[in-house]
Amino acid sequence: MSHAKADLLRGTLDFLILKALTFQPQHGYGIARWLEESSDDLLRIEEGSLYPALYRMERRGWIRSEWGFSEANRKARYYRLTARGREQLEAQAEGWDRLVEAISLVLRKQPG
């Protein structure tokens, strides 16, 4: 896996996690399920890799965590979006939109 690709994927993962947390605070398993469902099972990630990403993002102050209890009364760590995380999400969303637009432009280009 080349570096550029890895960075793109990692950036994308961060972006998706942030999006997942906009609805409600969620634990890692919940984030994985939300990603699965909302992408109609198209985006399937290695779920364990969520965690290094989560810790990294918490360190950057985009998300905050606290221990709570899951639906099944199991001890679980819940992540919540911070104000900075929200800003980050908006900035990334905008960048994503522009990228998609640019790529579509390129793809729609007719020969001639």
Partner: protein, 887 residues
């Protein structure tokens, strides 16, 4: 990431890694478990569900590793933030506390400023004078070399010129040996003639031994100290270059006329000390076949070859000395060599001891300030017991409480250190202004990096010491019981009372030690000033008349006698005389003396200083002529080989002719040397003329007939002594306009200077001791009134039960005095042990001087009693009703 805080945090996180790992694992396990449960609910059997979950989750061990790494860096950052946050909070808290109690803060800060300021000032002196490295490359290879005659009891004599040249040539362990001899010369050819100090040095002295680079020009060349070489060359000291040539390059083209000989200036030395600042001008000391082996004249230094130890150098020189002894068995019988490290150059043993003593004194002062401060914090911590207990109960950890206490005390002591630094700068200026000339390099004292480090260190140490005890004490209280009793206790807990008692003992002991030191120095100084000097010092002017060597003996004699006659004709002059070495100057000329019928007395030939004088010397100095008579002009006309007419001091008379009449007797002078007979004309009183802290000298007085010894004139005036200086100059201009007058001073001033070191030490130590006493009293009084106030209720109960005022007074005072007595005992023991180090600094006072100890202990006892009695009296007058209401 290299600040100590960061490092500390890293260590801490490593310790907490296990906890962290546990949390990460919990989280990952939860995820796996949920996945497995999901696949199971879709109908898979446990084993397949597990496999599917693992497939979906990814390699658990790899993920765990990555996760732990990410998580620990996050935790680290969080902890650091928390730490900084706490620190900020603690500092704000400390500031608020200080602000809320301005009296407490002012007292605490000024005590600290005083203690740290005194330490800063003294340390900068100690650093500059004793610790600062010498301004020469590889100073550890430099040594000082002396001749010794161990059998005759002297270990450190200057080196005889003849021996120096041999030691220099025959040793195998030194890069070079250098010799220095102080002399002076008349500088003429300028507007007014001037007396210069001239250092005569062997050629390698500056360039090879000290290895200094000249600021300008060159150092002396190897041949310039040999009889065959060109030796009319001179180097200027930096100071002389600045003052005489304005630091101009043209100095190199200049020629100086010294004692009538013209010298070419070849170089300028850098500024610095020692050696470089000893003289105005340096010229080569020229080797001569007549160089003596028995006159100890040269200061000799050496630069050891790389890798040679001081002891190795000494053994080598000692071997050379053995060979010289074989070659010159008469002159050099028993010759030995002493070698000393260059660390001793900066200051002599006495100065060093005095400075360490001063540093010790301010150290004690700071300790007392610390104890006081610790006590203040303790009292305040006790006052805050309830607050602390509440904080502890609401979840503040013990460590956090201690840290908060420490932050506060460190903050206070660092602010105090800052103020102390300011005070120290001022103190350095004050010390420099009052210090006598004897401490070398004092004018260079400055606040340097080392001094700043020292001050900072003192501040931190103070903060930790003063903050730790109360912080531990306060946080150690059992929160629940404190809250139950409402933070009130009848008279403080037992532990606290013991701690406060300990503080009182410490203060009393520390101040007693300092006071004993000061007392000994004061007594010693009193003894010194009260000692029988044997001569008068008031209204006596003294000046050097630099008659050049070009005057022959007859010419010089006539000049001296005429000069004295003309001076005594001046109206304000009571009497006057000339002498070749002035009293109290420290220098001396000496001779051995015996009775002709006992040429080899038991215990060796005694040694006396000799002085050339003109008639009227004893009258002028107020020295009694006990028997016989003074010289007259006729005594100056004796023939060359006959008996020299002499006057002797009483101690010589008592030594040679106990109980007999010495008048008219013959005495052999320069016994064991050239040997000349003298006839005793009179006996005069003994003088402490080598310095009043030295014993009375044995002295032989001779008529002033030789040339080559320019005279000092001593003038006893009716009025202000310096008023005769213009008339003196006028007489000299009339007699010979080329002779400069120099070193004009009064005997009073010389006396002041000769005891300047002792006075300086006494004044400073007394000052520090008084400050210490003041601080200690304030501290003891504070503790006593605090503990009495704590007993108010108990006393009230006793009063209500019918105890009399006297009974209560007695009880409170007795209780308060117990730690004070313990402190007295400890202090006396400590003073006894420490004052031994002062032995060399005391004049006719024993370090264990009972008067001082009893006096100081008495003063402290009364002071402690007073500081217990005042609060006790207040307590005894307590109205029980009020006492019960007090909380």
């Amino acid at each position: 990431m290299s600040s100590p805080v960061d490092r500390w945090i890293r260590i801490w996180s490593r310790l907490s890694r296990r906890r962290l790992k546990g949390e990460v694992e919990d989280e990952l396990d939860f995820h796996m478990e949920m996945l497995v449960r999901r696949f199971r609910s879709q109908g898979m059997d446990p084993a397949r569900a597990r496999a599917a979950a693992e497939d979906r989750f990814g390699d658990p061990s790899r993920i765990r590793r990555r996760a732990v790494r990410a998580e620990s860096s996050r935790v680290r950052q969080e902890e650091r933030a928390l730490y900084m946050d706490n620190l900020r909070q603690d500092l704000r808290f400390a500031l608020r506390q200080l602000w809320k109690r301005p009296v407490f803060s002012i007292i605490a800060l000024s005590m600290l400023a005083l203690g740290i300021g005194a330490n800063t000032a003294i340390f900068s002196v100690v650093y500059t004078v004793l610790l600062k490295p010498l301004p020469f490359p590889e100073p550890e290879r430099l040594v000082r070399i002396w001749e010794s005659r161990i059998e005759q009891g002297w270990e450190r004599a200057s080196v005889a010129p003849g021996n120096f040249w041999d030691l220099r040539e025959m040793n195998r362990t030194f890069e070079d040996l250098g010799a220095y001899r102080f002399s002076s010369a008349n500088l003429t050819g300028m507007e007014i003639p001037e007396r210069l100090s001239v250092g005569r040095v062997s050629a390698g002295f500056f360039g090879q031994v000290l290895a200094v680079r000249p600021v300008l020009g060159r150092t002396f060349l190897p041949g310039e100290d040999q009889p065959s070489g060109e030796s009319r060359v001179a180097m200027l000291s930096h100071q002389f270059w600045q003052s005489r040539f304005g630091g101009d390059l043209s100095a190199l083209d200049a020629r100086l006329t010294l004692d009538g000989e013209s010298y070419e200036v070849v170089g300028v030395l850098p500024a610095g000390r020692p050696w470089l600042d000893y003289a105005d001008v340096y010229v080569p000391m020229v080797r001569s076949p007549e160089d003596t082996r028995s006159s100890f004249e040269l200061a000799v230094i050496g630069r050891l070859r790389p890798g040679i130890t001081l002891e190795g150098g000494r053994r080598d020189l000692e071997a050379v000395a053995r060979r010289l002894e074989e070659a010159f068995p008469d002159a050099l019988a028993g010759i030995g060599i002493t070698v000393g490290s260059s660390r001793e150059w900066a200051a002599n043993a006495e100065t060093r001891r005095a400075l360490w003593l001063l540093l010790g004194a301010v150290g004690f002062l700071l300790m007392i300030a610390c104890v006081n401060l610790g006590n203040l914090f303790l009292a305040r911590a006790t006052g805050r017991v309830r607050e602390t207990a509440i904080r502890a109960a609401t979840g503040a950890s013990r460590g956090r409480l201690i840290r908060q206490g420490l932050t506060e005390s460190l903050f206070v002591s660092l602010v105090g250190a800052g103020m102390g630094l300011g005070l120290g700068v001022w103190g350095v200026a004050a010390i420099t202004a009052m210090a006598p000339g004897q401490i070398p390099g004092l004018n260079e004292v400055a606040i340097t990096g080392w001094v700043l480090t020292f001050t900072l260190g003192a501040g931190v140490l103070t903060g930790v010491l003063t903050g730790l005890v109360p912080a531990l004490q306060a946080s150690g209280e059992d929160a629940a019981s404190t809250l139950r009793t409402g933070g009130r206790s009848v008279s403080g807990s037992r532990g606290q009372r013991r701690l406060r008692g300990g503080l009182v003992s410490a203060e009393v002991a520390l101040s007693l030690i300092l006071l004993v030191g000061a007392g000994l120095l004061i007594r010693s100084f009193g003894e010194l000033m009260g000692a029988e000097r044997g001569f008068e010092t008031d209204h006596r002017l003294i000046a050097s008349v630099n008659v050049p060597d070009t005057y022959g003996p007859a010419e010089a004699t006539e000049f001296n006698l005429q000069l004295v006659e003309r001076i005594s004709a001046l109206p304000p002059v009571v009497s006057t005389a000339a002498v070749h070495i002035r009293p109290l100057a420290g220098g001396s000329t000496g001779l051995g003396f015996v009775r002709p019928d006992d040429p080899e007395p038991e215990g060796g030939i005694p040694w006396a200083s000799w002085r050339l004088i003109t008639p009227g010397y004893f009258e002028t100095l107020g020295v009694p002529i006990l028997r016989g008579r003074d010289f007259t002009r006729d005594d100056f006309a004796f023939t060359g080989d006959g008996h020299l007419p002499v006057l002797i001091s009483r101690r010589i008379a008592d030594l040679l002719w106990p109980g007999e009449d010495p008048l008219g007797r013959t005495i052999t002078l320069w016994a064991g040397q050239t040997g000349r007979p003298g006839e005793v004309l009179g006996v005069v009183g003994d003088m402490r003329e080598r310095g009043i802290d030295q014993g009375p000298t044995l002295a032989v007085y001779l008529p002033y007939v030789a040339s080559g010894w320019p005279p000092d004139v001593v003038i006893h005036t009716a009025g202000e002594p310096t008023a005769v200086v213009p008339a003196l100059r006028q007489i000299l201009v009339e007699m010979d306009p080329n002779i400069p007058l120099s070193d004009i001073t009064t005997l009073e001033e010389m006396l002041g200077q000769s005891v300047g070191g002792q006075r300086f030490l006494m004044v400073l130590v007394s000052l520090f001791a008084s400050l210490a006493l003041l601080l200690a009293l304030a501290g003891v009084y504070g503790v006593q009134s605090y503990s009495v106030a704590q007993q108010t209720q108990e006393i009230g109960v006793r009063v209500a039960m019918g105890a009399s005022r006297g009974q209560i007074l007695r009880k409170v005072i007795l209780q308060a005095m117990r730690p004070a007595f313990l402190g007295l005992a400890l202090g006396i023991g400590g003073a006894f042990a420490l004052s031994r180090f002062m032995a060399g600094l005391l004049f006719q006072v024993e370090p264990s001087d009972p008067t001082t100890y009893v006096g100081v202990a008495g003063v402290l006892c009364v002071a402690a009693l007073l500081s217990a009695w005042l609060p006790a009296r207040r307590a005894a007058g307590v109205d029980p009703v009020i006492a019960f209401r007090t909380e």
